[in-house]
Subunit: 135 residues, 2 copies
DNA sequence: CCATTATATACGCCTTGACAGATATATCTT
DNA sequence: AAGATATATCTGTCAAGGCGTATATAATGG
């Protein structure tokens, strides 16, 4: 049976972006693959809450997950749809000028340099930079 | 009392964009000021529904309204926030590749050329092109 | 002033999704 | 197999917001 590719749902993507916690998660994932424990530690939010928002982003097709032992790594999955990808890129770029987002990235950098400082992150796999995909 | 400018709420803007009807409205407003009756006629949706969605966009600061006699004209209001404006622009551009959006614009063009054909639009003020603001 | 037209808002119903807190699942370690 | 750890899902509660229908408001024309 013909399974024609479902058309990209822009409104759905916007719904996925319509939450401050999810935006912060995407900001942290921008340009790297990163483990759930980092999100929990950096955003200082409950683990179930982080996990639910990640699930939402997964269902919306914006991020993908990869398991590595006990750890789950999340990364941004740029939509194939050109318009969708452009919107997502614009969103990610807009984070650059946002205080909160800058602060989150600062904490991430610090956590990566000295994970022993963050009890939660001892032994956790460090985030891995990725090609951005943005030409 | 200090009324410092409230910071632009990106998540809120995304929430405003997270509805197909509102996206269709924005598409029709892209580059022109246009009267409510056109929305009702082109989207073939109930007048209260259209009006509610326009109110939502107004509250989100994405559009502004201007009264002219019985008619209300709506236009897109680009956010002052650079990132917000960039996201909105990307969204508007993404409509270009969308069937539905293209079809809506085709109906609009037709309605403008021969408003007598649309009973609802007899005597209604025609949409007026605007500078896009996108440099 | 009354009717008509254009638009906005109110009401009631229903779904989605946010949250906290409890619990389930997967993996590793011993 | 029995913890321990990392993450996911379930449960119940609540607020936001979608819809249709009814009604309110604003402007215009007799």
């Amino acid at each position: 049976m013909r399974r024609s590719k479902k058309p990209f749902d822009l409104a759905r993507m916007f719904a996925a972006l319509a939450d401050p916690t999810r935006l912060r998660l995407l900001n942290l994932m921008d340009g790297r693959e990163i483990c759930v424990c980092y999100f929990v530690e950096i955003l200082k939010q409950s683990q179930p809450k982080i996990s639910r928002h990640l699930a939402y982003l997964r269902n919306a097709g914006i991020v993908s997950a990869r398991r590595e032992g006990k750890w789950m790594h999340y990364r941004i999955e740029r939509p194939e749809d050109t318009g969708g990808a452009a919107v997502l890129d614009a969103a990610l770029r807009s984070f650059k000028g946002n205080r909160q987002m800058q602060a989150d990235l600062a904490v991430l950098r610090k956590a990566c340099c000295e994970p022993r400082g963050l009890v939660m992150l001892q032994g956790a796999p460090a985030p891995v930079p990725m090609a951005t995909g943005v030409a």
